[in-house]
C-alpha cells in the first residue's frame, strides 16, 4: 500500500523507512533505522526530487505512482547521486522513459560511472543560479560541492520557499509515520542521531557547509526538505545554530569526554578515578567511554559536542592501542579541531602511548594539549604515587573549563 505524506500545497513526501539496515554506508551502526526521502511536486508539470535506496524501492515507486495519480512524470531533479538516493533511478526511467532529468554535469558523469544508461537528450545540466519553471513553481539550483560529495546541489523553490537540501540537515532514524521535526521532541529523541549523522558523514567538510549556509542565509526558507530524517518547517534557528557550531568545529558545550583504551581494567580504573575527582570538584558534564566497545561514530559525534577530551590509553606493541589509534585517525580524517585535550598513558615496560597520541594530535588543527605534555603516566596500574597526578589533572581540567 502506498504511504506518502503531504508536505505543503502541491508537495508530497514519497520516501520510505528502512529499519533492517545494520550499518549505514556499511560502517555506521543504526539502531533506529533511517529514512530515504524523495518528494513529488504537482504543478503544470510533475516533478520528482531525487529517488530512494533499493531497500525501500517498492514502497517508493508505489508512493510516486499514487501521488501522480495517473499523470506522467515530466521532470526528475537529482540533487545527489549517492546510491542510497539514486539506486532506484532505473525503475523511474523504465516507467517514465521520457522524463526530463535535471542535474549537474558531475552528477551525470557519476551516474554513468555507477553503470546507469542515461539518454543525453533527456538530461539538462545545470550550474549555480540556473532556474527551471514547472508552471506556478520556479526553482533555482544552488551548488553545494563537497556537502558531502562534489556533484551535490540543492534546489530552492522560489515560489513557496522549499529548500531541497540534499544530505545537509539530514539525520539517522526512521520517521515512523511522522514527517516534520516539530512532530518529535527533536532535542530529546533526535539530536544525538542528527549529530552522529552530520559529524561522521559531513564533518570533514565544515568550510563547504559554511559556504552553503552563507548562501542559504540570503533566501527566505519556509521548508527544509533533506534526503534523510524529518522536514523542518519551524525552529530553523535551532538546527541552523547546531550546523553553525558543527561546521566551524566550535564545541556545543563545555564538558569533558574521557575515552579510555584498557586491556585489563587498569587504565579504565585511572579514567574512572579522574571522572570521580572531576565530579567531586563539581565538573559533572562528563562522559566516559570504552574505546573498544563504543563504535567510533559515537565518539566522533560526542567530540563535536564537548569542549575537552581526555585520551587514556595503554601502550600496545610499542604503539597506541589499535581502537584508540583508529579513533585518532578518524578524528584527523573528519577534520576535528579546536579542542582541549589531556593525555593519560599506561604501559608495563616501554610506555609510548602518550607521546604518540600527542604526535597524532599535533597533526590536527587547533588542538591544545593541556599542560603541554603527557598529564599522567601510569606504569601498569594506578598506585598511590599517581593519585596526585590524577588530582592535578582534574584541577587543571576544572580550571580550564571554568575559563
Amino acid at each position: 500500500m502506498n504511504c506518502y505524506r503531504k508536505v505543503t500545497d502541491d508537495l508530497y513526501w514519497v520516501g520510505g523507512n528502512d529499519r533492517r539496515l545494520a550499518l549505514f554506508e556499511n560502517i555506521h551502526p543504526l539502531y533506529h533505522g533511517v529514512s530515504y526521502n524523495a518528494y513529488v511536486l504537482l504543478d503544470e508539470k510533475t516533478v520528482l526530487f531525487d529517488t530512494a535506496d533499493w531497500a525501500v524501492g517498492r514502497q517508493f515507486i508505489e508512493n510516486v505512482k499514487a501521488v501522480l495519480d495517473g499523470r506522467p512524470l515530466d521532470y526528475l531533479v537529482i540533487n545527489h547521486v549517492e546510491p542510497d538516493h539514486a539506486a532506484t533511478l532505473e525503475e523511474i526511467l523504465l516507467r517514465w522513459p521520457d522524463v526530463q532529468m535535471i542535474m549537474t554535469a558531475k552528477a551525470a558523469m557519476f551516474l554513468r560511472n555507477f553503470g546507469y544508461t542515461l539518454n543525453g537528450d533527456n538530461i539538462r545540466e545545470v550550474k549555480e543560479g540556473d532556474t527551471a519553471s514547472f508552471g506556478k513553481h520556479t526553482v533555482a539550483f544552488v551548488m553545494a560541492p563537497m556537502v558531502h560529495w562534489p556533484e551535490a546541489m540543492m534546489t530552492f523553490d522560489t515560489t513557496n520557499g522549499v529548500l531541497f537540501s540534499a544530505d545537509a540537515f539530514g539525520s539517522f532514524r526512521s520517521l515512523d509515520g511522522k514527517l516534520f521535526a516539530d512532530e518529535f521532541d527533536f532535542d530529546r529523541e533526535w539530536i544525538d542521531e542528527a549529530r552522529r549523522y552530520y559529524t561522521n558523514i559531513v564533518g570533514k567538510y565544515g568550510p563547504q557547509v559554511q559556504a552553503v549556509l552563507k548562501k542559504a542565509a540570503k533566501v527566505d526558507i519556509k521548508y527544509l526538505c533533506p534526503l534523510h530524517g524529518p522536514v523542518w518547517r519551524k525552529d530553523f534557528g535551532y538546527i541552523l545554530d547546531k550546523y553553525q557550531h558543527w561546521s566551524t568545529y566550535t564545541p556545543e558545550e563545555k564538558g569533558v569526554m574521557i575515552v579510555y583504551a584498557s586491556m585489563y581494567g587498569n587504565t579504565e580504573n585511572t579514567a574512572e578515578l579522574l571522572a570521580a575527582k572531576l565530579a567531586a570538584k563539581g565538573v559533572t558534564n562528563t562522559r566516559l567511554y570504552d574505546v573498544s566497545s563504543t563504535h567510533v561514530s559515537y565518539l566522533i559525534s560526542d567530540l563535536f559536542k564537548y569542549s575537552h577530551i581526555v585520551f587514556a590509553s595503554v601502550t600496545y606493541n610499542l604503539g597506541i592501542f589499535p581502537p584508540m589509534h583508529n579513533f585518532l585517525a578518524d578524528m584527523k580524517a573528519l577534520n576535528l579541531q579546536n579542542r582541549t585535550c589531556a593525555i593519560i598513558e599506561n604501559g608495563s615496560w616501554a610506555i609510548q602511548s602518550g607521546k604518540l597520541i600527542k604526535e597524532a594530535l599535533s597533526g590536527m588543527k587547533k588542538m591544545t594539549v593541556l599542560g603541554d605534555d603527557v598529564s599522567v603516566t601510569i606504569n601498569s596500574s594506578c598506585r598511590e604515587q599517581n593519585v596526585a597526578d590524577v588530582e592535578s589533572l582534574a584541577d587543571a581540567l576544572a580550571a580550564d573549563l571554568s575559563k
Binding site: 563537497m146 562534489p150 559556504a211 587547533k366 593541556l370 599542560g371
Partner: protein, 634 residues
C-alpha cells in the same frame, strides 16, 4: 646586461676610492690593531651621501641604484674590509627592512636619519640557538596591549653598540616555528636594551660586533614592521639583498689584496728580475685577476637584477658564495706573493687575509648559500623543511616575574608572599641532606655565591625554607663546596620537586635541563642578564650576600615540622596561541592545499602562495582547477 659599468658608476667609484684612500687607508692599521670603530670616517661617509645610496630621495636617500651601493662597499673594502661591512650592514641590513616593509610613518621617522648617516642601522637575527636556522629564534616579544615586551639576546651583531636603530627579530607566537617570528624596530637607549662587550675578532676589527641584550624592553606597537608573523619573510628578503653587500665586500677585499700583490711583485727582485716575471708568480696573478673578474660580474649582475625588480635571490647567493670563496683564495695567493714580508703585522695583505675569512661565514654561510641555490634549481628538500620547530624554554613555561620595586627587603617580602600564595607551606621542611631526586625543595648555590664562607648563607636559607642543599656543577666539581652527589644538572641530579631556589646560578643550559620539571624556580643573581632569569618563575636581581639573609629571616618559622609526603604542584600551562593560517579547499574532492607544504609532486614549491601557483596546475587528487578552491583560515 651591459657587461660594463656606466660613466656615472665610475665617477662614484672614483669619489669613494678617493675618500677611502684619504680617510680610511691611513688609519686602517690602527683601527685593526685597536679594535676601533671609525666614527669620523662613518660621519664623513654620511656627508658624502654614501649611507643611503639605493634609497629614494623622498626619504633622504641618494636615489642611486643597487650597483652604485655595491661599488661603494667594494671600494671601502678595498682599503679596509671592516669599513666595507659597516656600510653594508647599515645599508642593506639596518635600513632595507624599514625601506621595504615599513609603513609611511616608520619610513618618515627613521629613513632620513639613516640615509644621511646621522644614525647608523643594524640588524639582529642571530642567536645562540638560531643562526642558519632562524626557526630556532628564542627572543620573545610578548603582546602587552600597547607594546611588545622584548626579552632575549642576539649575538654577533654587526654595528652593535654603534648603531642607533636595530631591526630585531623575535617570536610573537611561540610554538609555530618561523611563522611566529615578527620584526621590530628597536632604538638604542631604551630601558632594558643593553650591549655586551665587543668581540675580539680575527678580522674586520674596525667594524663593531657585539651581543644585544633585551631585558623587558618595551617596544611600542607602532614599531612592528609589516604584520605579526612576517618576520621570517622580512629577514629572508633582507638577507637576499644583504648578500650583494657582502659579495661586494669580499670582492673589495680581494681586489685590495690583488692590487697590493701585483705592485709588490713588480718591485721585488729575485734571481735578477722582478718576481712578476717568474711564471710561477705571473700565472698566480693571471688566475687572481680571472677570479676577480668572474666575481665582479656575478656581483654586478645580481645588483642589476635587484634594481630591475627581477628575481635575484639565487644570483645574489651565487655572487656571495663565489666572491667570498675566491676572496680566500686571492688573499691567500697575495700573501704567498709577499712571502715572509706579508706575514708581518702592519702589512695590508696580512689584514686582508684575516678580513676575508668572515665573508664565507656571515650573512648565510657559504654552505647555506649552496642550499639556497640548490633550492632554486631543485625545489626545497622534503616537506620537513616547513614543519614548525617545536622548542621550549629550557625549564618549560615559566612566569618570569622579577621583583624590582622598593628596597631589598620589599623585594624579598613580595617574593615570599607570592610563594605562599602559590601554596608553599614553610612551616614544614625536609632534612638538608635529602637526596636531590627525592627533595620537595632545594636551595642551590652557583659560582655567584663567592667564597666558601658564604655557603653558610645557603645552609641558613635551606633550613629556613625547609629545603635540601644543592649546587651547580662547578660548585661541586671545581670549588668542592658540596659533595658531587649534590649538584643539579643534566649530567647530575635532576630536581623534580616543587621549589628550587637558585642562588648565584647563571643558568647554563646543562643546569636548566636538570630543573626542567621543577614546579617553581626562584632566581637570585646580581647579573640582570643571567639566563636563569629567563627561566624562573620569580626573580630578584641582587647580591646573594644581601638577599639571602633577608630571605632566610622572612622564611624562618623556627623548628620545622616534618613535611608530609610530597604532592607535586602542577600549574595549568597557558594555552598556546594559535596563529591562523590560510588553506585552500578543493570543492571537487575536499583536498586541502597548504601553502606551507606546496605540492612538491607537481613541482609547486613549499611556501608557494595559492595565487602564485603556476598556470595549468590542477588539484592533484581530482583535477579541479584553482578557481574551484575556497579559501579558509584556520
Amino acid at each position: 646586461m651591459l657587461y660594463q659599468t656606466t660613466p656615472a658608476h665610475e665617477e662614484l667609484r672614483a669619489k669613494v676610492r678617493a675618500f677611502a684612500e684619504a680617510e680610511v687607508k691611513p688609519i686602517a692599521f690602527s683601527l685593526d690593531k685597536n679594535n676601533e670603530f671609525p666614527r669620523d670616517a662613518v660621519r664623513k661617509m654620511g656627508e658624502l651621501g654614501l649611507m643611503g645610496l639605493p634609497y629614494e630621495t623622498e626619504y633622504g636617500g641618494a636615489g642611486a641604484d643597487v650597483l652604485s651601493y655595491a661599488i661603494a662597499v667594494e671600494e671601502l673594502a678595498r682599503v679596509d674590509g671592516g669599513t666595507g661591512v659597516i656600510l653594508s650592514a647599515h645599508t642593506s641590513l639596518g635600513t632595507y627592512p624599514i625601506a621595504a616593509f615599513g609603513n609611511e610613518e616608520q619610513k618618515r621617522k627613521y629613513l632620513p636619519d639613516l640615509c644621511s648617516g646621522r644614525k647608523v642601522g643594524a640588524f639582529g637575527l642571530t642567536e645562540p640557538n638560531a643562526g642558519s636556522d632562524a626557526g630556532g629564534t628564542e627572543t620573545t616579544a610578548e603582546d602587552r596591549g600597547d607594546y611588545y615586551l622584548l626579552n632575549g639576546n642576539k649575538i654577533f651583531i654587526t654595528n652593535g653598540g654603534e648603531a642607533d636603530t636595530y631591526v630585531v627579530f623575535a617570536v610573537t607566537t611561540p610554538g609555530i616555528g618561523t611563522r611566529g617570528i615578527s620584526a621590530l624596530i628597536v632604538e638604542k637607549g631604551w630601558e632594558g636594551f643593553t650591549f655586551g662587550d665587543h668581540y675580539d675578532k680575527m678580522g674586520i676589527r674596525s667594524s663593531a660586533t657585539c651581543e644585544l641584550n633585551f631585558n623587558n624592553v618595551k617596544v611600542p606597537k607602532e614599531n612592528l614592521l609589516g604584520k605579526e608573523g612576517m618576520g621570517f619573510k622580512i629577514a629572508m628578503s633582507t638577507l637576499d639583498g644583504g648578500r650583494i653587500g657582502i659579495a661586494a665586500q669580499a670582492l673589495g677585499i680581494a681586489q685590495g689584496a690583488y692590487e697590493a700583490a701585483v705592485e709588490y711583485s713588480k718591485e721585488r727582485v729575485q734571481f735578477g728580475r722582478p718576481i712578476c716575471q717568474q711564471q710561477a708568480i705571473a700565472f698566480k696573478i693571471a688566475d687572481m685577476a680571472t677570479k676577480l673578474r668572474c666575481a665582479r660580474f656575478l656581483v654586478y649582475s645580481a645588483a642589476e637584477l635587484k634594481q630591475a625588480h627581477a628575481p635575484y635571490g639565487m644570483e645574489a647567493a651565487m655572487a656571495k658564495q663565489y666572491a667570498s670563496d675566491i676572496a680566500l683564495e686571492v688573499t691567500n695567493d697575495a700573501m704567498q706573493i709577499f712571502g715572509g714580508a706579508g706575514f708581518m703585522k702592519g702589512m695590508e695583505v696580512e689584514r686582508f687575509y684575516r678580513d676575508a675569512k668572515i665573508t664565507t661565514i656571515y650573512e648565510g654561510t657559504n654552505e647555506i648559500q649552496r642550499v639556497v641555490i640548490a633550492a632554486h634549481i631543485l625545489g626545497k628538500a622534503g616537506k620537513a623543511s616547513s614543519a614548525p620547530v617545536q622548542r621550549q624554554a629550557e625549564t618549560s613555561i615559566r612566569k618570569k616575574i622579577l621583583f624590582k620595586d622598593g628596597s631589598a627587603q620589599d623585594k624579598v617580602e613580595a617574593l615570599v608572599a607570592a610563594l605562599k600564595k602559590d601554596g608553599h607551606d614553610f612551616t614544614v621542611g625536609i632534612p638538608a641532606d635529602t637526596p636531590i631526586v627525592q627533595a620537595e625543595r632545594v636551595v642551590s648555590a652557583g659560582k655567584g655565591i663567592g667564597e666558601r664562607g658564604n655557603m653558610k648563607l645557603i645552609e641558613d636559607l635551606a633550613r629556613a625554607a625547609g629545603a635540601a642543599i644543592g649546587s651547580s656543577r662547578p660548585v661541586a666539581e671545581t670549588l668542592q663546596y658540596v659533595p658531587l652527589n649534590r649538584y643539579v644538572g643534566m649530567s647530575g641530579q635532576k630536581f623534580t620537586g616543587n621549589l628550587y631556589i637558585a642562588c648565584g646560578i647563571s643558568g647554563a643550559v646543562q643546569h636548566l635541563k636538570g630543573i626542567k620539571d621543577a614546579a617553581y624556580v626562584v632566581a637570585i643573581n646580581n647579573d640582570p642578564n643571567a639566563k636563569i632569569f629567563k627561566n624562573c618563575d620569580y626573580g630578584i636581581v641582587g647580591d646573594v650576600t644581601e638577599i639571602l639573609p633577608l630571605l632566610t629571616a622572612a622564611l624562618d618559622t623556627g623548628e620545622k615540622q616534618p613535611a608530609p609526603p610530597m604532592v607535586k604542584m602542577k600549574r595549568v600551562a597557558p594555552k598556546k596561541p594559535y596563529a591562523p593560517q590560510k588553506y585552500y579547499v578543493c570543492t571537487g574532492c575536499g583536498n586541502e592545499y597548504d601553502p606551507l607544504r606546496g605540492d612538491p609532486e607537481n613541482e609547486v614549491k613549499p611556501g608557494t602562495a595559492f595565487k602564485d601557483i603556476p598556470a595549468g596546475w590542477m588539484c592533484p587528487h581530482c583535477g579541479e582547477t584553482p578557481d574551484g578552491f575556497i579559501e579558509i583560515e584556520v
